[in-house]
Symmetry: D2
Subunit: 289 residues, 4 copies
């Protein structure tokens, strides 16, 4: 029997998922503020790795701040949108970038020399200038219009298609989920036969992004020095394991305590540890596998 | 070298696909009226087997009539919606049936003793009374609202989910396609993990439906007496072949003449014949394989 | 609270799965003989619908007879192999048929005028004469040689590929499964991109085959008169439901009593009834849904 | 009109695929030796990134040497097996590692303190000690025995399953392919429902591995300084593009010149350049997209 705090002693750097670990549809996970105060006091490095590309890092932390978690600065947020941005910086040299998402999400694809255009504005007049399609968020466009335009754009043009959130759905209340942009991308991919670039957990590029940032502080960092904390087996735990990290599944989000064993054994996705939450002052059940 | 007409001599009953064979986004395929006049004159039995469940058979033929093809009566139309109807008649005994589609498409799920309810009217108040979900058409509901409600309904209730059109997309102009209700169902199925009942070509139940009607006229009918005419490899030709019928691919719809060989060899779906069209007075290239 | 026997009163015809319902790796399900004796005494029509194409109907019942269940005649056995046979009779007019399976399984593809050839004998000399590939059983060939030959045959020739057992695996002992020919076919299909014809439950053609036999005795038979009894949700129950039949899940095979609720709600495949077994003299829990 | 050589001027580091670029089933691609001699003379850094985990880097270059390409040292070879090795080093702390592959392939999973065991030696006696399953090569085991044992091992134990080659098939002659260990893994994954860790192109971890090696020589290296050369769209080009590299498709392997346009537009996987080969003294067609 150990608690989450005692677990942290073995690691120099902690990677956290956001939704289901730090916050959920009700606001902050109760007590999570102490975890980050303790990390600051102990000078432990941490990053928050999220598949949420709906807003810039600044706006993402603003929602923490509004809820009283003011300690986290924007430079600790690593969003899958930042990977989409890196891809565009490296691979899209000219033309217009069409996107599905809110204006806020378009933050990630702004690039000097490239014009960005919401999917609703794609038409016969500009379709030949479009050089990439980026799926950022499930809001900000009419689904009927936007999804049909995205399908026809990919049939008409051979251009890269990027999705900055591989998740199929996300919880919007205790009972309900919402279809995420990743879920919409599955349909577009199957209908068009075109291969998407998917950034975000479990894909290792987002872990590498955080890894390279952490190496700036600790040049001798090894993967054994990092703990990944998440609530979702198929993204946080699968991706963390694949990247070579120790992983801890917390039970404050997608997986209920009573389902954990069945979900792990049926998927074969095995966290290094299981904790009740990422709150450090609780007495927690930890199963060291 | 033979023409479509000479091919017909070998069969007692002809099954036709509708879209891409009889009509397309521009109206009727030029010359197709003569085909049906000839069939009537020769007293050849025919059925039109369609994955279009957006309207009743009466309304489906009305659109032929408006275009001048007045010879086809409603009882020759076999829509995938009729299979959905048969399923509900046999398997749904009570409660409410939620549907995605237009009011016209709801024709297929009306049943004495069962209430039908468009997806937009599903709410916490009635969700526990819903005993089936039926996907009929891509129109008639707001996609954002309707698709999210469909996902949450299937997460909340263990009820049959039926889709009356397995197609992922359909042509809306020479250049463009529209996402079909079948394409939307793929996404819902993947997000929820719930298995859909899919009716319509290539599934054999729709062929069996037509087969049993044809047997009423020809009690000794064998599958060798039937020719399936279609423009789509994955529905018309695959389904016709699997049911044991001879099949003819016509090049007035989904497949262009120059692509036919590649599409056939890469999918492995081999029609018995290829014809330029189902128009009978043309001189046509027919490749007997 | 009802027993399986009282359930039978409502139906004229009973369809049984074989493995997991009548027998398992240990031999007959204890007490199952009385069920068939009672059906004979009551003159109830029954058929055994199996995805086992490894042997002819005669050899399939012989294994029942050896275990003391001598009452079942071969004409009650409907194997998915019989659908493969019907397909070949209708659709393969000439040439050689290559097969994966034992010599016994080749029973189903024998046809006057067609030569059959085990996959191991396919070579450069005869590959151009092969007009169909049929996957019948996981035994009877070396997997390395046979699977590679099957892949290359389908890459080289555009011919129909048929698999007479859609199951991925089957139980060989209380703890172990064996990979079935259906599982092997998934790999060949994915590697080659060629579409297979799959016969056997849950596909409706095997139910239609049994339906047409039963109609010979009861010309006015309706689907409401038939009960499908099976132990597997994805084949017996899904297929029976889709065909429009009432279905009963028995817990003597693939699904343990403690897992039934979870398996049903996570897949969305809902049997009409659940019984402990298909043995009629037991007192059983039946949940009428 | 440019040649491959003039293209190289823009890059500091070149990543090459091996099979289809440097060699094929006939031996070396004619003229490829000059490419590597020129790279050495120009002091250009290069790495060979291969999904071949059948042998150690030393044995992989030995096969180049035997064919007269003696200039490539083992430390330029990056095999997907090295990623499997890194995973085991980081994530498997104790127990036995079962593997599918030859004795040579087992090179990659040797680790002090861990016992390795070929799949054929897995039995009831040792199954509870096995802590990981690694799929390395399609040779070295009987498929019937080994694949069934792998399926049952993953059903019985919740352990990581790793496949060190994501390819489904590989060319063994001008006409024929062989099923690769990646293709076998698809089937095991689908039958068991357990999620595999897949290392090798197009997954970005193998590119990161090469990237970190190249950074040792050029600490200021950016992704714009690297060119990925490959013959396969779904591994070399997709993976290189996703990692942010410029990519060149060469036509000496999987894709014939006449098919390139269709294969690119149907998959949506677009190389930066297309060259006839990676041979530098040829006059080549280069399409700068």
């Amino acid at each position: 029997m150990k608690d989450f705090k005692s677990l942290l002693a073995n690691y120099k750097v902690i990677f956290f998922d956001s939704y289901g670990v730090i916050r959920n549809y009700n606001g902050l996970i109760p007590g999570i503020r102490q975890t980050f105060e303790w990390l600051e006091a102990e000078q432990k490095e941490y990053y928050i790795i999220t598949n949420d590309a709906s807003r810039s890092p600044e706006l993402l932390v603003e929602s923490f701040h509004r809820n009283g978690l003011t300690i986290i600065p924007p430079d600790r947020m690593i969003s899958s949108g930042m990977l989409a941005k890196e891809f565009i910086d490296l691979k899209v040299k000219s033309g217009m970038i069409a996107y599905l998402g809110t204006e806020n999400s378009a933050h990630y694809i702004q690039h000097p020399g490239l014009e960005i255009i919401p999917i609703q504005d794609v038409s016969e007049k500009n379709i030949d200038k479009i050089s990439a399609l980026v799926l950022l968020d499930d809001e900000g466009f009419d689904w009927l219009d936007g999804l049909n335009k995205a399908v026809n754009l990919l049939r008409w043009r051979t251009i890269p298609a990027i999705v900055a959130n591989p998740d199929g759905a996300y919880p919007v209340s205790k009972q309900e989920v919402g279809i995420a942009i990743g879920g919409l991308s599955w349909m577009i991919e199957k209908i068009t036969g075109k291969k998407f670039f998917r950034f975000g957990k479990p894909d290792s590029q987002i872990f590498m992004f955080a890894w390279e940032l952490a190496k700036r502080r600790y040049p001798d960092l090894t993967k054994k020095d990092i703990l990944m904390v998440g609530d979702t087996l198929h993204t946080d735990i699968l991706g963390g394991n694949k990247f070579g990290l120790d992983t801890v599944l917390v039970l404050t989000g997608n997986i209920l305590a009573e389902d954990a064993e069945v979900r792990i054994s049926s998927s074969g996705i095995l966290p290094t540890y299981i904790c009740a939450s990422a709150v450090i002052d609780n007495q927690l059940d930890i199963y060291d596998k």
